[in-house]
Amino acid sequence: MKIYIPHDTSSLSLGADEVLAAITAKYPDIEIIRNGSRGLYWLESLIEVETDKGRVGYGPVSIDDIPSLFEAGFPEGGSMHPLYLGKVEELEAFKRQNRLTFANCGVSDALSTEDYKFEALEKALKLSPQDIVNAVKDSGLRGRGGAAFPTGIKWQTVLDTKSEKKYIVCNADEGDSGTFADRMIMEGDPYCLIEGMMIAARAVEASQGYIYLRSEYPNTAKILQQAIDNAYEAGHLGKGFDLEIRMGAGSYICGEETALLESLEGKRGMIRYRPPLPAIEGLFGKPTALNNVITLASIPFILAQGAKAYQNHGAGKSKGTLTIQLCGNVKYPGLYEMDFGVSLKELLYGIGGGTATGRPIKTVQCGGPLGAYLHESQFDTPMTYEDFAKAGAMLGHGGVVVFDDSVDMAQQARYAMEFCSIESCGKCTPCRIGSTRGVEVIDKIISNVERDQNLELLEDLCEVMTDGSLCAMGGLTPAPVLSALKYFPEDFGLLPKKKAA
């Protein structure tokens, strides 16, 4: 008898460790496996048991369910309990996914070097650096951190830049609110990231890697450090490539790649002027391949199964899968890895089941705090980089935050400006001062002080921020603000408010 209890932060946040304690108190000899989450977060804590009859799940399990679960014969796979789910892979929300990058996540012991086979690395070791770069180019993989830059082209630049020292830096700052894919895979399948970084290192001829991890993720840090220690012990790391975790310190802007590099060098997280590109002069002035966690974690699949296998997924120029993180006010929140091209509507209603509160969906924000709010009339938009750009929105890191009709969009617009004013690095004026003014101006609009003039002022301000900021922090903050204003003018007092439902 085996029992799987996730050590994913969200599962722990709902009492998975307490559930574990209760189970081992009654069954001291049971084999416990700490896996990652399956990503079906409304079912967390999702506990699975494996008997001769197969592997079945129960969820959402809380400590209060333990007595009744025991009564229903839970560790033996008893099906007479309302929380019994059957096989997790056969749940509708799971079957509709294409798990390429997250294939292993939540399946087995996240930290076992025996369960994880470094098969992609083995293949990569037989290839030349240029062949690896070519495979990544052919796969069509684009950066999953937000900017969607083709990964193979970035690696080519690093490979072509001669230097006695080169770095791989993994951006695990995951600052975008509404996103947790990086965290989930680092906790659920850390060797996948490590393997991806090792392949990247071989491709660009780097000898040192850093994972810049946000400090809000202490549980992730613990698991990832253990994985790195194990990978050294098993002889995977330390043979020409070393890997170290560095912790951030609660700064959103440090997710921007040049600010991140400054931070890694022990400085304030200030944006750098470009050029030079980090690929040419990055960390400590050396060529650096800097990629998001999910970008790097997608590499093992591409090397193991071939560029073609990856490219076959997706739509148009958006190749492969998008790890959608559906959250906020939604009935079935979770991580859904799907081919690019699924429509927002399908995601929100078909998979997400509408709102958690049962009220109508008013809007969704995609792509983090710098992403636009979308109106219901845009819900047919297919989830590809191109279609979202056409709709004036962005996919970013794949976060989709759902709001019901009780949300006040003027407040959301105000929050976007406020967030920018708190997190701006301060290097450029449009971002630093513009955002502070933005809050004041929106406050005036809300309280109907010279509304028309202030609206004009707000639009001017947004234009200056968009055109004049050094990076996307100030440059994209207007996106949520202007989309809120465009699609929900009544919340700014511009049209008579619709009667409350």
Binding site: S177, F180, K267, P333, Q412
Partner: protein, 138 residues
């Protein structure tokens, strides 16, 4: 957490001084030990890492994480970001206007699918209701 102790602090600094880009790891290690970074100690850090005092001070003040005084017994962070807003996180904040806890803002804990999210010391909690928060704090 232990009380500030210059000798112990010096040892911590020396242990990490040789890392490339050592300042953040040094500050994190000090704060993990003492709960804050004593501003009087800035010159020592600067000397050990061959930086100016202004460099060290600049970094200390730039990052939200670093404290210059000891926190209260408990540090509570309530997520203020969008996914938790959508699940009513703002109601939680009104609940802990109490003096015996240090309330710090945080923008996303990566627990967005199980919001509202709260972090108490180093542990994250999900689907937190006002009642559950009371329970956690009692």
């Amino acid at each position: 957490m232990t009380n500030w102790n210059a000798e112990a602090a010096q040892k911590i600094v020396q242990g990490k001084a040789n890392l490339p880009g050592a300042l953040l790891p040094v500050l994190h290690a000090l704060q993990a030990e003492f709960g804050y970074i004593n501003p009087d100690f800035v010159p020592e850090i600067a000397k050990a890492l061959n930086l100016s005092r202004a460099d060290v001070h600049g970094v200390l003040s730039f990052y939200h994480d670093f404290r210059d005084k000891p926190p209260s017994e408990r540090v509570i962070k309530i997520c203020r970001a969008e996914a938790c807003q959508a699940m009513g996180a703002s109601k939680l904040e009104d609940h802990i206007k109490r003096s015996d806890v240090t309330l710090e803002p945080v923008y996303c804990l990566g627990n967005c699918a199980c919001g509202p999210a709260v972090m108490i010391d180093d542990k994250t909690y999900g689907r937190v209701t006002p009642e559950k928060l009371e329970e956690l704090l009692s």
